[in-house]
């Protein structure tokens, strides 16, 4: 597949698309935690790094097969997510934000000082198992599962927690359970993304996973529209491509990047697709095709 693609597509573009795919996986994980369930997580890069290092160490130091490393990465990240999530998410209020900032920093410093993680030099020579096909097959599977989840009863429960936690509890939703589960799934995806990242770049170091990385993923979710899957994908594509596309403004790149975000937040504060509802899209589509939309008597999106 790779070879086939390389005949038609410039290798540079291919690389960007792999990166976009990896970022989408990470961003969708964060979207589930923050966009859908409303729990602000500012340490997504920390879970990504747990996945990356777990995968790298298992591959380089123990010679484990890639699929094992990938799965272990996700599970390890999810496990740490649950460990810090349970005590934090039992509380009402935005404690998760503080805890995740601290947690990501702790993780970074731990890896910086851990011999098996290569300390400051990181880990190199990671087998490059990540390719276009793998990443995008995973993206498709994860998008489908995510979409299915959000249209179902547990999905509605998660949204209700974001909207009004007290009312959600009063409606029978076990908010602590659902918050922790959302966090577990989101961090699992971060771990998977981290592993894919490590096996793509073949080299990782603690600098790759600083606070700004967490902020980048948060930007993708917020830009696209909190809770919206197509929105998150769109936000990810835009923000992954932006540094490349903005290369022409060279030194003023960060200025443009910041300006872009500010402009979008002024005119579309709910994100690009945050106000778009699937049911409205369906209606508009029906109208455009000449059919008058009937008042919906079935489920909406």
């Amino acid at each position: 597949m790779e070879a086939l693609l390389q005949q038609y597509v410039d290798i540079y573009v291919l690389q960007i698309m792999v990166l976009i795919g990896i970022n989408i996986i990470l961003a969708l994980g964060l979207n589930l935690i923050t966009g859908v369930t409303g729990q602000l997580s500012m340490g997504h890069a920390g879970f990504m790094s747990i996945g990356a290092y777990t995968s790298a160490i298992l591959a380089v130091n123990f010679g484990m097969p890639f699929w094992f490393c990938l799965l272990a990465a996700g599970l390890m990240a999810a496990l740490t997510g649950v460990i810090i999530g349970i005590p934090t998410l039992r509380l009402e209020g935005d404690y998760l934000a503080m805890v995740t900032i601290g947690f990501a920093e702790i993780v970074r410093v731990v890896f910086l000082n851990l011999d098996i993680a290569g300390r400051g030099l990181g880990i190199s020579g990671i087998p490059g198992n990540t390719n276009f096909t793998l990443v995008w097959v995973l993206v498709i599977v994860i998008v489908l599962l995510n979409t299915g989840l959000l249209k179902s009863r547990p999905g509605r429960a998660l949204y209700s927690i974001r909207e009004d936690e007290i009312a959600a509890e009063a409606s029978g939703v076990n908010t602590t359970l659902y918050k922790v589960v959302a966090f577990a799934i989101g961090t699992f995806l971060a771990g998977i993304g981290g592993s894919l990242y490590a096996h793509y770049l073949t080299y990782i170091s603690p600098q790759d996973f600083g606070f700004m990385k967490s902020v980048e993923y948060l930007n993708m979710v917020v830009l696209g529209g909190m809770g919206s899957i197509p929105g998150t994908i769109l936000g990810t594509v835009i923000l992954t491509m932006a540094p490349e596309v903005l290369r022409f403004v060279a030194d003023y790149r960060l200025l443009f990047y910041g300006g872009l975000l500010v402009t979008l937040m002024i005119f579309r504060p709910n994100g690009l697709l945050g106000d778009v509802r699937w049911v409205d899209v369906k209606h508009t589509w029906a109208r455009l095709r000449g059919r008058i939309p009937t008042p919906s008597n079935s489920s909406d999106g």
């Binding site: 009863r153 509605r156 429960a157 209700s160 029978g172 008042p295």
Partner: protein
């Protein structure tokens, strides 16, 4: 038969005694009104019953089982639904979705089966949809199912909250000032709705400031002031009770 028993319940917040050895019994199938000046402790009592607070002392029994200190979602599962004084709707969700969340504990479709869209889960979803639409129709919002809850007019938002509380298929429903902000027509419709609710077998515990609504529809009324019960009885008795008049008007008649 008593459906709710509040036995000698006190609630302290720091130095403030919000409820003082309060005892109330609500009989199954009645519409019970709770009135009193602002700050009397009515919403505090609601929050206690629904598990938002844990009583400092005293006992709370629902259908004979103790519920004091249980988490709110367990109390909802047990069959107590409520609306809120300040309307707590899921504003960015549709009216239909608001009600469907109310059906959360009734529906039972588990995480994985819902995720994988198994036939069993899909059947549960369809039932949820049908029941939710029926509830929306009952409160008169059937044609607004896909409207965003936050965009509904105030009176309809109150009705939607009631529909969501009814979605729990509760035995007891707590309505916290449902008539607040409504005009005369809407209040008439509300009275009809409450009667309809009672006819389905649900007991109603109602906090209200509008005396017309209260006197019109309640079988029994309890009056709270400073966290204590100062009177209890049929509407006629309460209307003429000196202590009640005094607590509201602050003068002796």
């Amino acid at each position: 038969m008593a459906i709710l028993e509040v036995k000698n319940v006190s609630q302290e917040f720091g130095g403030l005694l919000a409820l003082d050895r309060l005892s109330i019994t609500v009989e199954k199938g009645e519409i019970f009104g709770l009135i009193g000046p602002n700050g009397a402790g009515k919403t505090t009592l609601f929050n206690l019953i629904t598990g938002i607070y844990r009583p400092s002392s005293g006992e709370l029994l629902f259908e004979g089982r103790p519920i004091g200190g249980l988490r709110p979602h367990r109390i909802a599962e047990a069959g107590i639904g409520r609306t809120f004084q300040n309307i707590r709707l899921f504003k960015k969700l549709s009216a239909l979705d608001n009600v469907r969340v109310g059906m959360h504990s009734v529906s039972q479709a588990g995480f994985f089966s819902a995720l994988l869209h198994t036939p069993w889960a899909m059947r549960k979803e369809r039932i949820t949809l049908e029941k939710s639409m029926a509830l929306l129709d009952m409160v008169g919002l059937g044609d607004k199912a896909i409207e965003l809850a936050g965009s509904l007019p105030y009176g309809e938002q109150r009705c939607l909250e009631i529909a969501r509380a009814m979605a729990l298929e509760p035995s007891l429903i707590l309505l916290d000032e449902p008539a607040a902000g409504m005009n005369a027509t809407e209040k008439e419709e509300l009275l009809e709705l409450i009667r309809k609710i009672r006819e389905t077998g649900v007991t109603v515990l109602l906090v209200e400031h509008d005396m017309n609504v209260v006197m019109n529809i309640c079988h029994r009324i309890a009056v709270l002031d400073y966290g204590r019960k100062i009177a209890e009885g049929a509407p006629e008795q309460i209307k003429n009770d000196e202590r009640v008049i005094e607590s509201y008007l602050g003068v002796e008649m």
